[in-house]
Structures are given as structure tokens and as C-alpha cells.
């Protein structure tokens, strides 16, 4: 006998038995199908696969398949989160569209407010014979400006005007002679309640702080060195300024608390013909940015300086415009702007990865630089919404130009003759504008 015979025996045995099922079994089975809904075709991924692949029976256990789907879903959500959230600005810009806000500027011997298109123009400097260097308060309700006796005077009063004209002019300098250079030596406290300014006292320029607008004035630097170009930190705790010792050779960037305490030197330089620019704080209170002029113009450098520990030079081919104007941060802190000697206006990415001094890569600036061209001169500032720059017009700074960052060639000029620094209103948005 052979195995084939045994197979035949098994086959015969298997053929024994019923060939039909009970009718009630069929009825029950059909009734059961009626309690189930048919799944739509799109629920079957294999329908979209090539047939050979679809017919592979991979027999993946359900828990493994479920875990795989879960992991893939989480990865997808993570990727979407990075794509959507990670590309947004790190800090919400707390301003409404800049075009809706007025600019304060000097025209002739007075200070005016006007919108970009020149509309709603009005004078705010009253009957002051000569007014210059307007500066909006952070809350946008007041404008501080200097009032020297004439255009050539080296000092003058610091006056404050209410934007809505609801109050008379207030003299914040209380009789002191505030320094009137190319770049104004005035800064508002972040809460808009106080001012710091540089004023000449006994032949020495010192930093003074007011107690309220129009209140008492207190010096925060002594008379052993000339101090000017103050900048209040965003958190209001310190004021940065530049210092030139009376020998005219030792130069510093320093910070001090508004009450005159905790004086600290940030940078030093010894040179008779060099200078620091006005320092600018990052919006988060981080590193200061300023320019260093080593003399002869072409060696001016733009620097990010986190109190000596993290210093990098963004630009080493010469700073243009007013050498004291400095390197302002964008409202969101991601960029800095400055005028170069050869390439016009430059926007530099804020490089936050600068290693500390002594570490590899220290001093190495790795951010991106963007050349906007010679679209402005003398000074440059950021629009309140960070979407454009504004500065002195390139025809000798006889006007103010607004430069959209998305299209610098569309730079336009304020429809009025202006001179010196202008100031674009910073105004926190109403709750429904956020």
C-alpha cells in the first residue's frame, strides 16, 4: 500500500457527511448581515495599492498595527506642530499696522504729527521758537522733543507734548541744558512715566532721570566723565549709555540703575579718535547692540554685545550715516538694522548662538545679512510693526523714507520736508486688534 491510498481513504472519509447546511442556519446568517453596515470603499487602504502588494498577507498583529498607526499619527502631529508653530515669530508683535499710526517729525522749526500719507497733520510743539528730535512715549500718548534756542545751539530744553493736545507743554528738563547732537540723548522709561536724558552740568554731560514727567530731576552719573545717548532697558531696570572720560581717550559703554546704583561697564576702548554709538537693547532685555567707530570711518563695526561674554561683529566694513545712531533691533528682536558706508541699509539676523568668550566660535557671527541698498541715510529705525524701516531720505536726509522689507524698491517718502530724527508712534493695540 502507498501513501496515496491513505490520502484516498482520508478523502473518502471527508466526503462522508452532509453536503447541505440547515435552512435555518442560512436564514440566521442572512439576518445577521442585515445588522451590519457595509464599510465604505475608502476605508480599505489596500484598494489603493498595486494588486501584488495588496494581496500580500502580512499578518501584522492588530496591537502592532495600532501602535504603528499611533506612532505615525504622533509623528505627523509633531511635524505639523513644528511646521505651523515653529515657523511663527517667537514673540507676538504687540503693535497694530504701522500705517495706522502717526509719525512725529520736525519740519522747519516745529514738530508735527501726520500719517504716512500726510493726512491728519497737526503741529504739537506749540509756540516754541525751535523744536527738534521728537520721540514718542512707549504708550504713544506723549511726544518728547528738544527745544534749543536755535538750530545751532548745543543744548536746549526737553519738552513733552500730549498727543491729543489735552495738556500744555511740560518741561521735563527742569532748567537743565539737554544735549542736542545729531542723535537725541533722550529715552523714555518703558512704562512712559519717566525720562532719562543727557544734560550739561558744570561743563560735563551727565545722565539725568526724571521723577515723573515734569517731576524732579536726579543725576545718575557723576561729573568725572561725559555721558550721553542713554537707552532704557525694556524691563526698566537699567539704563545703558556711552561714556567718554574727560581725557577724551578712554571710552565706555555702561549701564546703571535708574537710581544711580550698580554702575557697570560693558565695553571699553582707548582711542582719541574712536567712539561708540548709542546702545540699543534687545526687546527681551538681552544683548546690547551698538557700533564702534575706530576712526577714519571705514573701520566702523556693528557689534552684538551681551556684556562681554558673547560678542560678535556683524559688520566690519564701515558704518555709514550718523556714526552715533547705532544698531536698533526689530520689534520682535529677530533682526537688527544699520547703515553701512558702502552697501547702504543692511538688515542683519540676530545671531543668538554666539558662544561665550573663550569658547570655540566666540566672536563668530553666523546670522544672515540682507542688503537693502542705499534707500536711506543718516539714521534708520524700525516701524512699530517690524514690517518696514524708516529713516533719513538718501538725498541728504531732507525727508523721511519708509522702506517696506518685503519690497525695498517700493520705499516712499513722507510727503513733507523734514529734518533730523522722526519717531513713529508706538501704541499697544486695543484688545480687539491683537
Amino acid at each position: 500500500m502507498t501513501n496515496r491510498t491513505f490520502d484516498a481513504t482520508v478523502a473518502d472519509w471527508l466526503r462522508e457527511g452532509p453536503e447541505t447546511g440547515p435552512r435555518h442556519g442560512l436564514d440566521r446568517a442572512l439576518a445577521a448581515t442585515r445588522r451590519v453596515d457595509q464599510r465604505p470603499a475608502w476605508l480599505f487602504p489596500r484598494r489603493y495599492l498595486p494588486r501584488p502588494l495588496a494581496e500580500l498577507d502580512l499578518r501584522i498583529p492588530a496591537p502592532v498595527a495600532a501602535a504603528g498607526v499611533l506612532v505615525l499619527t504622533l509623528l505627523l502631529v509633531f511635524a505639523l506642530a513644528i511646521a505651523l508653530v515653529g515657523t511663527r515669530p517667537r514673540a507676538r508683535l504687540p503693535w497694530v499696522p504701522a500705517a495706522e499710526r502717526p509719525i512725529a517729525f520736525q519740519e522747519g522749526s516745529a514738530i508735527f504729527l501726520a500719517r504716512l500719507d500726510g493726512s491728519e497733520r497737526r503741529k504739537i510743539s506749540g509756540d516754541v521758537p525751535y523744536a527738534t528730535s521728537p520721540l514718542f512715549s512707549p504708550d504713544g500718548t506723549q511726544v518728547a522733543f528738544l527745544a534749543p534756542s536755535n538750530a545751532g545751539a548745543t543744548g536746549g530744553r526737553l519738552l513733552v507734548a500730549a498727543v491729543d493736545g489735552s495738556a500744555p507743554l511740560v518741561e521735563a528738563s527742569r532748567g537743565l541744558s539737554v544735549v542736542t547732537g545729531q542723535v537725541p540723548s533722550v529715552t523714555w522709561s518703558p512704562d512712559g512715566t519717566r525720562l532719562a536724558f543727557a544734560a550739561s552740568s558744570g561743563g560735563v554731560s551727565r545722565i539725568f532721570v526724571t521723577a515723573g514727567v515734569g517731576g524732579d530731576v536726579v543725576p545718575v552719573t557723576d561729573d568725572t566723565a561725559n555721558a550721553d545717548l542713554p537707552t532704557w532697558s525694556p524691563d526698566g531696570t537699567v539704563i545703558a549709555f556711552r561714556v567718554t572720560d574727560l581725557d577724551g581717550v578712554h571710552r565706555h559703554i555702561r549701564i546703571v540703575q535708574p537710581d544711580g546704583a550698580a554702575l557697570e561697564t560693558i565695553n571699553d576702548m582707548i582711542s582719541a579718535d574712536a567712539s561708540f554709538s548709542k546702545p540699543h537693547f534687545a526687546p527681551d532685555g538681552g544683548p546690547l547692540a551698538y557700533a564702534v567707530n575706530y576712526g577714519f570711518g571705514t573701520r566702523t563695526r556693528a557689534i552684538i554685545d551681551a556684556r562681554f561674554t558673547h560678542t560678535a561683529e556683524m559688520w566690519t566694513d564701515g558704518i555709514g550715516g550718523f556714526p552715533d545712531a547705532g544698531v536698533p533691533y526689530s520689534p520682535d528682536g529677530k533682526y537688527l538694522a544699520f547703515i553701512t558706508a558702502t552697501d547702504g541699509v543692511m538688515v542683519a539676523e540676530n545671531d543668538e548662538s554666539i558662544p561665550a568668550e573663550g569658547l570655540p566660535g566666540a566672536g563668530q557671527y553666523d546670522g544672515q545679512l540682507r542688503r537693502l541698498g542705499k534707500v536711506a541715510d543718516c539714521w534708520i529705525e524700525w516701524a512699530p510693526d517690524g514690517k518696514s524701516l524708516y529713516g533719513g531720505s538718501p538725498d541728504g536726509c531732507a525727508g523721511v523714507v519708509v522702506i517696506p522689507l518685503d519690497d525695498p524698491t517700493a520705499a516712499r517718502r513722507l510727503p513733507t520736508a523734514t529734518s533730523g530724527f522722526a519717531s513713529w508712534q508706538l501704541l499697544l493695540p486695543r484688545s480687539n486688534e491683537r
Partner: protein, 183 residues
């Protein structure tokens, strides 16, 4: 099996599906009955296969292969039936009156009983291969397609199934095996 009926059923036509199910019911029951060796379990397996067929009919891309697909669903339902049973519920189906021929002598009945016991020693996967091959008469390739396994696995399962049955039968009645089939 008429592809147009399958297509109609795929579009949600219950009457078309009823016609397909009715046409296949007996053959599926017979296969399930032989794999599970239990009429009630076979009914349940066929019912489960119909439910899955109706629910997932739109996943079937080729209506021509409806019957083979149904066999696959049935075998899987048989697998599930076997797994659901508790170990002590192993069905030993006595040879019922309908199957037994009054003319059978005692030795024939005893032989059937030994075959039944040997068959139940097989795994449900081996039983499915045996039934589809020797009862339905499918070629190995079709069995492999119906069960979702390679042809080589079909052959190996057949080989081990037969060997297991021969061993079981040899232990139960060595003389008969020696006499009828040799060693």
C-alpha cells in the same frame, strides 16, 4: 459566481448579496462542517464569514474571485471558532444516523471513529488544508490563495497532516494500518 451580482452587492444591494450567500451557503457549510467537525460551530463560522463578507465586500477588487475570497473568510472564521472554544469543549462528533450506513459493519464504524479522532489531533490550519485539498478538490495554488499562505506551506501542512493522522491511526490500531496501508 456572477460578477455582476458581486458588483451590485458591493454597491450596497442586499438582495444581490442574499443571492450570492444563498448560492454559496451549502458548500461553505459543508467545508466548515468538515474543518470543525461540528454542525453548530460550522453554522456559526458561515454566519461570521457572511457578516465579514458583507461588511468588507468593497475591499474585494476582483468580483471574479468572490468565491475564493469567501473560502478565505470561512477558513478564518473557522480559526476563530476553534480559538473561542475552551480546551475541554473539543467536539467529538459521533457518527450520526444520517452518515452511518446500516449496512456498515462494526469495523467500518470503528475505522471512521479512529479517523475522526486522528483528524481532531490536527491543528485547525492543517485541517483546513486537508479539507480544501481532498474535499473541495482545490489545487495547491488555490488553497494557498484561499488561506493566504505560500504553496510550499500548503504542501508541508498536507504532509504533516497526513503523517500525524497515520501516526495516530497506527497507535490506535497498528494491525489495520499495517494491513491496509503498510508502514
Amino acid at each position: 459566481m456572477r460578477p455582476e451580482l458581486v458588483a451590485r452587492a458591493q454597491s450596497g444591494d442586499r438582495e444581490a448579496f442574499d443571492a450570492l450567500a444563498t448560492a454559496l451557503y451549502d458548500s461553505l457549510y459543508a467545508v466548515g462542517r468538515r474543518i470543525l467537525r461540528d454542525g453548530h460551530a460550522a453554522e456559526d463560522a458561515v454566519q461570521e464569514a457572511f457578516i465579514r463578507a458583507w461588511r468588507d465586500l468593497r475591499s474585494l477588487r476582483d468580483p471574479e474571485r468572490f468565491e475564493a475570497w469567501m473560502h478565505r473568510l470561512l477558513v478564518r472564521a473557522c480559526y476563530d471558532q476553534t480559538r473561542r472554544r475552551r480546551p475541554f469543549e473539543v467536539a467529538i462528533s459521533p457518527i450520526d444516523a444520517a452518515r452511518s450506513d446500516p449496512a456498515d459493519d462494526i469495523s467500518v464504524v470503528a475505522h471512521r471513529d479512529e479517523l475522526e479522532r486522528a483528524f481532531l489531533k490536527l491543528s485547525v490550519e492543517q485541517r483546513a488544508v486537508l479539507v480544501l485539498t481532498h474535499y473541495v478538490g482545490m489545487p495547491a495554488a488555490d488553497v494557498g490563495h484561499a488561506l493566504g499562505i505560500p504553496v510550499g506551506t500548503v504542501h508541508s501542512r498536507l504532509y504533516y497532516a497526513i503523517r500525524t493522522m497515520r501516526t495516530e491511526l497506527a497507535q490506535a490500531s497498528p494491525d489495520r494500518m499495517l494491513t491496509e496501508f503498510g508502514r
